[in-house]
């Protein structure tokens, strides 16, 4: 009965959900959210946390059925509400922010019209008044020049800005409960912090409760009061954040806590040697997109950056989105035309290299992509994907080739996956395939472009550990690109911090993490998810 806990806004009572009769999604989950409280719902992908959120809004996809329990909102079971009641509940009482800010705003409508649409749907209010309130709300989520923003379209904003606009549009209706489904997973650590600060500040001032769905315990430690840990649809543990993080009772919770990046300076010393690859005063300029009548300003993505990587050395390049770190990585592989500077590989300057030398350089260097969903050809089987680079190495017999691929798959922990297609693999497994493809030809230099930022924290740790293991075993040099300073200490010998196309600070892992000099480095460090908030 709802009277048992008079203080509960959202009350999930022994809820079980199934997909079709046989597949259990949620199993006997119970927890409460009090008004104004921030509760974190934590678990890996596939733990059922998103379905729980959708259940609260009654937005479950087809095929999901409730087999037991209830979701009480203000004491009323949402499964028993009529369609009209649900419509007036969604938005006005419960707001929702989605993971992907790039697709959750309508690209064909101005921001202003989208903000007003929701407001006028739920409240009798004139266009002028609605406009006024929307402008005010945009100001509160710290959008510069809100008036101008109202007339702009979503594509004119960055991911972080869009997510703040999303928050504005949801909070305009002053909901009692805000469900934030991994609101910052797609953003870099600095932007992540900005967005969450805005969200917490805003919900606090209007005493809106928040159900924060995330796989990142660092965020939980920083912002939530209570947490609920889910594992494969089962409630593992729930209670106050401080208590759980400091004294986790269940082993699964400990796994999640251990997955948080911890500093690890245990890497062996790199032998002093002449650099394997050197980039000198590298500049990359992208022509502006512009429109039919005028070309826009060309964009200087990388401005005169010099980097040298020794054989076997792992260098981390860290910076927020737009810092030029990805461009630097591609440019060092010779994948982008240079506006200035040169790359020297094994003592040969690429601008003067013969075709054969350039080809040897290309074959010696590999790239691991950020998004494991688009970097694998969906029509190739895993075996063929991993085997393809061998076409360009020394000729191998069919058997040698097969053994080499099997060996590689085993090394990345995917034995027996050769016959599957990429779509049948999880994100972490796909990234293992991408790493296997990059390493199979024993490259001398690998650029890893945010290889783990699309993955869950626990999977991130596994993939980082794998990468480190392979790097130590095969001894390739590596440029490890990341937006997360915390994640790189496990894999790097040296850190380079980049901001708007230039290096602002570089040094050993210890120096950068423990004694940062530049303000930007400090900000990045502060934004990195750790448990320091409760420790």
């Amino acid at each position: 009965m709802p009277d048992d806990i008079p203080n509960s806004l959202l009350s999930v009572r022994s809820l079980s959900l199934t997909l079709k009769p046989e597949l259990s999604i949620l199993n006997d989950v119970s927890f409460d959210v009090a008004p104004g409280e921030i509760v974190a719902l934590v678990g890996e992908s596939g733990s059922g946390k998103t379905m729980l959120a959708r259940g609260t809004m009654q937005l479950l996809p087809k095929g999901f059925t409730r087999t037991a329990g209830e979701i009480l909102l203000d004491g009323r079971d949402v499964f028993a509400m009529s369609e009209a009641e649900l419509r007036s509940m969604r938005g006005a009482k419960v707001g929702m922010i989605f993971q992907e800010p790039m697709v959750s705003l309508n690209p064909a409508m101005t921001i202003g019209n989208q903000l007003i649409e929701g407001l006028r749907l739920h409240e009798r209010i004139s266009v002028e008044a609605a406009w006024q309130r929307a402008v005010e709300m945009l100001g509160r989520v710290r959008i510069p020049d809100p008036e101008k923003c109202m007339a702009a379209f979503p594509h004119q904003f960055s991911g972080g800005m869009r997510q703040r606009i999303m928050i504005a549009s949801v909070m305009l209706l002053k909901p009692k409960l805000l469900i934030a489904d991994e609101p910052t997973t797609a953003l870099d650590t600095l932007t992540q912090r900005e967005v969450l600060e805005v969200m917490v500040e805003l919900t606090k001032s209007s005493s809106t409760a928040v159900l924060l769905i995330t796989h990142n315990l660092g965020l939980v430690a920083q912002y939530a009061q209570k947490m609920v840990v889910l594992e494969r649809g089962r409630l593992v543990e729930s209670g106050p954040v401080r208590e759980i993080l400091q004294h986790p009772r269940e082993s699964y919770t400990r796994t999640l806590i251990n997955a948080l990046p911890q500093r690890d300076y245990g890497r062996p010393q790199i032998a002093d040697a002449a650099p394997l690859i050197t980039a000198k005063d590298l500049s990359v300029v992208f022509a502006g997109a512009g429109n039919m009548f005028s070309a826009s300003e060309p964009k200087h993505a990388v401005k005169g950056v010099s980097v040298a990587v020794k054989p076997g050395e792992a260098v981390a390049v860290v910076g927020g989105s737009g810092s030029g770190k990805t461009t630097l990585g591609r440019a060092m592989l010779g994948l982008l035309p240079l506006a200035g500077g040169d790359i020297t590989y094994r003592g040969v300057a690429m601008s003067q290299a013969t075709r054969d030398q350039q080809r040897a350089f290309r074959l010696d260097c590999q790239l691991v992509f950020q998004d494991p969903y688009s970097s694998l050809d969906p029509r190739q089987k895993i075996f063929d994907i991993v085997a393809e680079p061998l076409n360009h190495g020394p000729a191998l017999s069919k058997n040698e080739r097969r053994d080499r691929v099997r060996e590689m798959l085993e090394e990345v922990g995917l034995s027996g996956f050769g016959d599957r297609f990429p779509h049948a693999l999880s994100g972490g497994q796909r990234q293992r395939v991408a790493i296997a493809r990059a390493v199979i030809r024993n490259p001398a230099f690998v650029v890893a472009d945010e290889p783990v930022s699309a993955l869950d924290m626990t999977i991130q740790k596994q993939v980082l550990d794998l990468f480190r293991k392979l790097q130590e075993r095969h001894g390739f040099a590596c440029l490890f690109i990341s937006h997360d300073l915390g994640a790189v200490s496990r894999v790097a010998d040296r850190i380079i911090v980049m901001q708007s196309g230039a290096i602002v600070e570089q040094g050993s892992v210890e120096a950068i993490l423990d004694r940062p000099n530049h303000d930007y480095t400090k900000a990045l460090l502060e934004a990195a998810p750790t448990l320091s908030a409760v420790a």
Partner: protein, 271 residues
């Protein structure tokens, strides 16, 4: 493995029948398809003439069998030509971009601006009415639609990271194009090619009707259908026989196309 879908079964069955008809015609027909018998003009279906005779007293069944081989050859070769030209140019246009793309698009736009049949008609006047003229004319007329479809899917596929990954592992542009871009751009083409098969059968009959198709007395389903038009009330079997054959082929080929598209998509394997 996957259980064959209903589409696949029915489609193969229908196409199987049509192919069997075409093959039979090579070895045996009840009568000569050209033999005129003025004493037996427009005889209804009977024991001696299973599907009756036409206005010249020629056996409809024999003509239908021979027509199957004629129509199938024309349709298959035309679609192959259109897909060959269109897919190659579309792949180049979408993948290389730049000046090549612009020129190809202008040419294909110019061709698309004319109705396909009209263009084929013009080409046929130059080529003279014969089977290979029809194939060439229709193939050229339909290739721009293939080009556009392939180009648009290549444009989206080439931006995916696995294309860049292919370059990074050392594949040349040509290898990347053939191994990674083409297979991922092919699904919409399969659907287009199957519906094109139908257009070709119809367009060929239209050209035949205007006296520019496969020249009479050689039978095709198209020219049989158009020749039957004046007699539809008196001798409905004349139109029904080729009409049903054309419909059956189109249905079969469309079902096969759907089944093929599903099978080409590895994501469908589980279902």
């Amino acid at each position: 493995m996957m259980r064959p879908s209903l589409n696949l079964v029915v489609g193969s069955l229908l196409i199987g029948i049509v192919v069997a008809m075409a093959v039979t015609a090579f070895f045996w027909t009840p009568y000569s398809p050209m033999a005129v018998n003025l004493k037996a003009r427009m005889v209804g279906p009977s024991a001696s003439y299973l599907l009756g005779t036409d206005d010249f007293g020629r056996d409809v069944l024999s003509r239908l069998l021979v027509g199957a081989s004629q129509s199938l050859t024309v349709a298959i070769l035309t679609v192959a030509l259109a897909v060959g030209i269109g897919a190659t140019l579309g792949l180049i246009s979408g993948y290389v971009r730049g000046m090549v793309d612009r020129v190809l698009m202008v040419v294909s736009d110019a061709i698309l601006a004319l109705p396909g049949t009209l263009l084929a008609l013009g080409l046929m006047v130059i080529m003279g009415p014969n089977k290979y003229g029809v194939i060439f004319a229709l193939g050229v007329a339909y290739s721009p639609s293939v080009l556009r479809i392939v180009r648009s899917s290549v444009l989206s596929v080439r931006e995916r990271e696995f294309v860049e990954a292919s370059r990074v592992i050392g594949n040349s542009e040509l290898q990347t194009m053939v191994r990674h871009v083409l297979p991922n751009s092919i699904a919409p083409l399969v659907v287009l090619a199957t519906s094109m098969f139908g257009w070709v059968v119809l367009a060929e009959s239209g050209l035949s009707f205007l006296g520019l198709g496969v020249p009479p007395p050689a039978p095709t389903w198209g020219n049989m259908l158009s020749a039957a038009r004046p007699f539809l009330e008196r001798a409905p079997w004349l139109g029904l026989a080729p009409g049903i054959c054309i419909s059956m082929t189109l249905l079969g080929i469309n079902l096969l196309g759907d089944a093929l598209r599903d099978r080409l998509d590895p994501r469908m394997e589980r279902q």
